[in-house]
Amino acid sequence: MPTSAAEVVFDKATKLYPGRPEPAVDDLSLTVPAGEICVLVGPSGSGKTTALKLVNRLIYLTEGEIRIDGTKIYDLDVTELRRSIGYVIQQVGLFPHMTVEANVGTVPRLLGWPKQRIRERSAELLELVGLDPAQDGARYPAQLSGGQQQRVGLARALAANPPLMLMDEPFGAIDPIVRARLQDEFLRLQQELRKTVLFVTHDIDEAIKIGDRIAIFRQGGKLAQYDTPEAILRRPIDDFVAEFVGADRALKALALRTLGELELGPPRDGPRATKDTTLRDALALLIDEHADIVAVTDADGAVVGSVTRDDLLQ
């Protein structure tokens, strides 16, 4: 599968809804580098959905500019623009009267691909998102679970290999266990596809897990901070951000790194943990075991080094 990605730039973008004094998105300037996942996160009503829908012109921009790979979106034909952007929403919005295969083939059909190629592409994508093309492809959306429907929604958005994906709380309506699995699979897919993704959530933990960068919105559609998850956790710009990321932000930051990323001391005795254990889990282990030193092992269980409690808390 060819990879492709587009850079997205919000340039002083503002959205005023008619009859509302306050902007829903206020003077937003933000650059999302090609191939990265940018998570828009913030309390309900802070303008995340509005910002997202400005990009595929489901909502009309009041002021400022949005550019995709340098081209202003209002210089493009609106249907072409939308067909070149994958769009995934929380309610999924699968077409109930079309089979799963037909749903996935929506954009390729609009683009006039030959039938055979559409069928092959649908099958390929269903497999990619963990569904069985032969069995699930002929089903109707009503016959699928919520998690499966969301996978189909993702496959439909990816069908024409768009360089940009817009995802509005795609896993929001799914139970926590399936959500965690979908998040993992999405990250695995992204390793391969390297799309530019704008991902909306109100869940800071999801934002930290998914995002290469996080844009935190506050009420009134204002961007509070735009940075990597690590920087946001370690250096929240103000009280709002600090409170939003949570009192446990230090622990969350520990969860972002693994033992393998630290400089290890010489092999020593202690409770054992593999290199890909997060610092957070390693600390939990020390607390559990009333110990001060973790013996770090490789995948085969051989001790390759050690980490002290102080190293962890650095």
Binding site: L58, R82, R83, Y87, G93, H97, L110, A142
Partner: protein, 238 residues
């Protein structure tokens, strides 16, 4: 009542047939045998024609109105009120009203029959189109379907079950009301009924014609159910 049969030769057959006929039996098979070909079958065929034409024209007009009412929401209420009004005129009164203008003709009958289909067809079309889920529409727009594509590929198919439900009601009631057409023209299954009423209420003829009306309505309804199952396979899953 005899006025509506003006110019129409009446062949009395009551009192000359079998014992069953002379006794005005409920189900004289020999009469049915003798008169299927010259009375019942032609009446049935005319009845089907009258109904089909009315439903066809009704469907066309209602579709046009629904396109307008759906696209320009301000017009939905006035169109609905007009259809409501037509629907509430009693059928006999509507025939009476029309005869001075269009005479004792098929046109009079069809205008009346079509009028009665409009309300149900129109209302169900609008209701079906309105019931398409908002998230489905947003996905359609976001995916890059044009306004027309959204209508033809998403809204219309999803409205079909409701539209066909309306069509079923309209069809059954048209088949039933078409019986009254015999007040205006010597056609349809209403005609043998009126003749029988005129002739000391010949029970067999009334019963047979009435049963044919019911059978025709049920058959048409069954056809539509079958059509719906074929056209909307997704409604039968899960």
């Amino acid at each position: 009542m005899s006025v509506v049969f003006a110019g129409d030769p009446v062949i009395p057959n009551f009192g000359q047939g079998s014992a069953c006929e002379r006794n005005n039996g409920w189900f004289c098979t020999d009469w049915l045998h003798a008169h299927w070909g010259d009375t019942l079958q032609p009446a049935l065929v005319q009845h089907i024609e009258l109904s089909l034409i009315a439903i066809g024209i009704g469907l066309a007009i209602a579709s046009a109105l629904a396109l307008v009412g759906f696209r320009y929401r301000l017009l939905d209420a006035p169109i609905g009120v007009l259809a409501d009004f037509l629907y509430t005129i009693p059928s006999l009164a509507l025939f009476q009203l029309l005869v001075p203008f269009t005479g004792l003709t098929v046109t009079t009958v069809e205008i009346a029959l079509v009028s009665y289909t409009l309300l149900i067809l129109y209302r169900n079309m609008i209701a079906g189109l309105d019931a398409v889920p908002a998230d489905t529409l947003e996905a359609a727009r976001g995916t890059g379907l044009t306004r027309v594509q959204t209508f033809t590929r998403v809204e219309l198919p999803l409205a079909l079950p409701t539209i066909i439900a309306g069509l079923r009601i309209a069809t059954v009631s048209t088949v039933s009301i078409a019986t009254v057409a015999a007040f205006v023209i010597p056609q349809g299954l209403g005609r043998p009924i009126f003749i029988a009423l005129d002739q000391n209420i010949f029970k067999t003829e009334i019963l047979a014609s009435g049963l044919l009306v019911i059978a025709l309505a049920l058959f048409a309804d069954a056809l539509l159910v079958l059509g719906q199952r074929l056209l909307t396979p997704w409604t039968r899953v899960a």
